[in-house]
C-alpha cells in the first residue's frame, strides 16, 4: 500500500478535524466532493482509490490501494474515521479493463463490513435515480419506496444496482451506523457520467417518436448534497433532483447539438454497429446505454422533495447552467 499525501493541511489542525474517507478518490466526482468539503474547514478528507491520483493538487490525502488484503480496514483501523463516503458508480468506465473498475473487487459490501468492524459513525453511498429504471408505466415522479426496475444488462447499470442493493440491505441490518443512500438524477458536468457522455457526442442519437422528460443535476450540486448529508444527522434513502425537468430535445437544442432520430426497433443493432466501428477506445460505453437501456425512450424521474426537506438541499445551478456544464 503506497501513501501519497496531497494535502496542505497542518498536522495540528488535522487532528481537530473529523476524518472523512472517500472511495473512488481518483475520479472527478471525488475531487469535487473533496473541494466542497475542504471549503467547510471542518473535515480532513482521506481518499482511497485504485489508480494513481490524476491531479495531485486535489485537497485530500490520497491512498492508492492495489493490494487485495483488506486495505480499507487498514485505513479505517489506524485512524479515527467519522464518516465514509462511497462514491459508487456515477462515473462510467471509459472502456473495459479500465482501472476504475477495480472498485468492484473492493466492493461496497466489503467496505460496509469494514465500517462495522471499525465503528464508523456515518456512511453515505452515492447511487443513482437510474436504478428505478425507465419504464412506460412509471409514474411521473417516483418516490424513494418505488421498486427498482432498471435493466442490469449494461455494466454501468449493473454496478449501480449492485451498489444500491448492498447499501440498502446494509441499511436494514445495521442500527449503529447512520446510512444515507443518495439517488441523484442524471449528473451533468465534466465528469464521465452516462448522461454527460451521451450528451457530449457531436451528433446525438435519439429514438424517433420519443422525447421523454428528463431531470438533470449539476455535478457540483451533487457534491453539495453530499456535504448536506454529511452535516445533517439523517439516515435513509433520498432521491436528489436538480433544478427541474425538461424534454431531451430541448437539452440537445440548448447544447447546440444535432440529433439523429433512429426508429427504435433499429436503434439497438444500428447503434452497436456504429460503436463497433468506432473501436474499443471509444469513451462512451455507458453513454451508449442511455440509448440502449431506454433512458431516452421512457420517463424515469423522481420526487426529490424529501431531500429538500430533510437534508436542506437546494440546487445552486439552474437548468441552463446545468445543461451547459456538459461542455
Amino acid at each position: 500500500m503506497s501513501s501519497g499525501n496531497g494535502s496542505a493541511v497542518e498536522p495540528a489542525a488535522r487532528l481537530a478535524r473529523s476524518r472523512v474517507v472517500i472511495t473512488r478518490a481518483n475520479g472527478h466526482m471525488a475531487r469535487l466532493v473533496a473541494e466542497r468539503l475542504g471549503r467547510l474547514q471542518q473535515y480532513h478528507v482521506v481518499g482511497i482509490g485504485a489508480g494513481r491520483l490524476p491531479d495531485p493538487s486535489a485537497a485530500m490525502e490520497y491512498h492508492q490501494l492495489d493490494s487485495p488484503v483488506d486495505p480499507v480496514g487498514a485505513i479505517l483501523r489506524h485512524r479515527d474515521v467519522e464518516a465514509v463516503i462511497d462514491l459508487g458508480a456515477p462515473e462510467a468506465p471509459d472502456r473495459l479493463g479500465d482501472d476504475s473498475r477495480v472498485h468492484d473487487a473492493l466492493d461496497t459490501a466489503r467496505l460496509l463490513d469494514a465500517c462495522v468492524t471499525h465503528s464508523v459513525r456515518k456512511v453515505i453511498v452515492l447511487s443513482s435515480a437510474s436504478v428505478y429504471g425507465p419504464r412506460p408505466e412509471n409514474t411521473q415522479f417516483l418516490r424513494e419506496d418505488a421498486p427498482l426496475r432498471a435493466s442490469p444488462a449494461y455494466a454501468w447499470m449493473r454496478d449501480t444496482i449492485d451498489i444500491d442493493a448492498a447499501a440498502s440491505s446494509f441499511m436494514q441490518t445495521t442500527t449503529d451506523i447512520a446510512v444515507t443512500i443518495l439517488r441523484p438524477v442524471h449528473i451533468l458536468g465534466r465528469l464521465r457520467s452516462a448522461a454527460s457522455n451521451y450528451l457530449r457526442r457531436p451528433i446525438i442519437p435519439t429514438l424517433l417518436g420519443f422525447d421523454p422528460m428528463m431531470q438533470v443535476i449539476h455535478e457540483q450540486d451533487v457534491a453539495e448534497v453530499i456535504a448536506c448529508a454529511l452535516s445533517r444527522d439523517t439516515r435513509g434513502i433520498y432521491n436528489v433532483t436538480g433544478p427541474g425537468q425538461i424534454p431531451l430535445s430541448v437539452i440537445i437544442r440548448e447544447l447546440g447539438r444535432r440529433r439523429m432520430p433512429i426508429p427504435h426497433l433499429l436503434a439497438g443493432p444500428l447503434w452497436r454497429l456504429a460503436v463497433g466501428r468506432a473501436g474499443k477506445a471509444d469513451r462512451s460505453r455507458a453513454g451508449d446505454s442511455m440509448l440502449e437501456a431506454d433512458f431516452v425512450r421512457f420517463v424515469c424521474m423522481v420526487d426529490g422533495s424529501r431531500a429538500r426537506a430533510e437534508l436542506g438541499f437546494q440546487p445552486r445551478f439552474g437548468l441552463r447552467e446545468s445543461i451547459r456544464a456538459v461542455d
Binding site: 409514474t139 411521473q140 422525447d211
Partner: protein, 284 residues
C-alpha cells in the same frame, strides 16, 4: 435556448394567424406551472398546445360541431375531477372535452386526462400527448395534479367503455373506483359529465376471434371501408356538465367508496338519458 430556425418561426406565425387573436389570448390566460423553457413538470407546453389547437379547433367547431351545456359547473380554478362516459372506439371524446374546457368558459383551463399505460410505448403519441397536458393514469400522478389545484379528467370505464360495441351504446359499463378514492383523499369536487354523440362516430361490432388472436381487449370492425375505425363519422357532439358533487369520508372504506361511485354513475346515466331525449338528429 438556441434561436429558432426560419421554418419554425414561419410555422409559429402561421399557427398564430390560423388561431386568431381570441384563441391566442386564451393561451396567454392559461395558468400553467411552466419553467423558463415553457414546460410544466408533466411536459405540457403552451406552444405545443397551440399547434394541436389548429386541428383540434377545426374538429371541435366544424367536424363534430360541439354543443356544450352547463360549463359554468366546472370551477374556474382549484382542484376538480371531471368524470365522464367513454365511448366511440377512438378517444375523440377526451380531445373534445379538452377543447371545450379551453374554449367555452371565461377562464380557460388545461384538462389533464389520464392515458392508458401502454401509450408511452407508442412512438409520437408518447411525447405529443404529454406535451398537450395528458398524463399516464397512475394514482400518484392524479393525486399530485389535484394537490397542485389542477383539473383532471377521468373515464372510470376505461378501455371497457371505449371499446364496447354499438349495440350497447349509451349503457355505462362497470366503473373503476380509483377516481372516488382520489376525490376522498384530496377533497376535490366531482363534476359528472355526459358526452352524447361519440358513440355514433364509429358504430362498431367487436370481432372477438381476431381480438383473441391478437391478444387485444377488442378488435372493432365498422361496416364501411377501411372497416377498422380510423376516421370518425361526423356525428354531432353534445356535452353536458353536471353540478359538482362533493364527497367526504374514508378513502380506504371500500363499501362507502363503492356507494359513492354508484351515485356518480347513476348521475351520469340520468344525464345521458336526458341528453338522448333532447337529441332529435344524430348528425346535426
Amino acid at each position: 435556448m438556441q434561436t429558432k430556425g426560419w421554418l419554425e418561426r414561419r410555422m409559429d406565425r402561421l399557427v398564430q394567424r390560423r388561431l386568431g387573436r381570441d384563441i391566442m389570448q386564451r393561451f396567454e390566460a392559461l395558468d400553467l406551472d411552466d419553467n423558463e423553457y415553457g414546460y410544466d413538470p408533466f411536459g405540457c407546453s403552451k406552444e405545443s398546445l397551440s399547434y394541436a389547437a389548429v386541428i383540434a379547433g377545426w374538429l371541435y367547431r366544424s367536424y363534430f360541431r360541439c354543443e356544450v351545456h352547463g360549463c359554468e359547473n366546472v370551477p374556474a380554478r382549484g382542484r376538480c375531477l371531471l368524470v365522464a362516459n367513454h365511448s366511440g372506439q377512438l378517444p375523440f371524446d377526451a380531445l373534445m372535452t379538452v377543447m371545450a374546457i379551453f374554449l367555452e368558459p371565461a377562464q380557460p383551463r388545461v384538462v389533464r386526462s389520464t392515458l392508458e399505460r401502454f401509450i408511452p410505448r407508442v412512438p409520437f403519441a408518447s411525447y405529443l400527448l404529454s406535451r398537450w397536458g395528458q398524463i399516464v393514469g397512475t394514482p400518484d400522478n392524479c393525486l399530485r395534479l389535484l394537490e397542485d389545484e389542477e383539473l383532471v379528467l377521468v373515464f372510470p370505464e376505461g378501455a371497457r367503455g371505449i371499446a364496447k360495441p354499438f349495440s350497447r351504446r349509451y349503457q355505462l359499463t362497470r366503473f373503476g373506483r380509483g377516481f372516488m378514492r382520489l376525490a376522498l383523499q384530496t377533497g376535490a369536487p366531482v363534476v359528472p359529465m355526459a358526452i352524447i354523440g361519440a358513440e355514433e362516430q364509429a358504430p362498431a361490432i367487436n370481432a372477438w376471434p381476431i381480438a383473441r388472436l391478437l391478444g387485444a381487449p377488442s378488435f372493432p370492425v365498422v361496416p364501411y371501408p377501411p372497416f377498422f375505425p380510423v376516421i370518425p363519422l361526423p356525428a354531432k357532439y353534445r356535452m353536458y356538465f353536471g353540478e359538482p358533487l362533493t364527497f367526504t369520508g374514508d378513502a380506504s372504506d371500500d363499501n362507502a367508496v363503492a356507494d359513492n361511485v354508484a351515485a356518480v354513475k347513476q348521475r351520469i346515466q340520468s344525464m345521458i338519458e336526458r341528453g338522448l331525449e333532447e337529441r332529435r338528429y344524430v348528425f346535426w
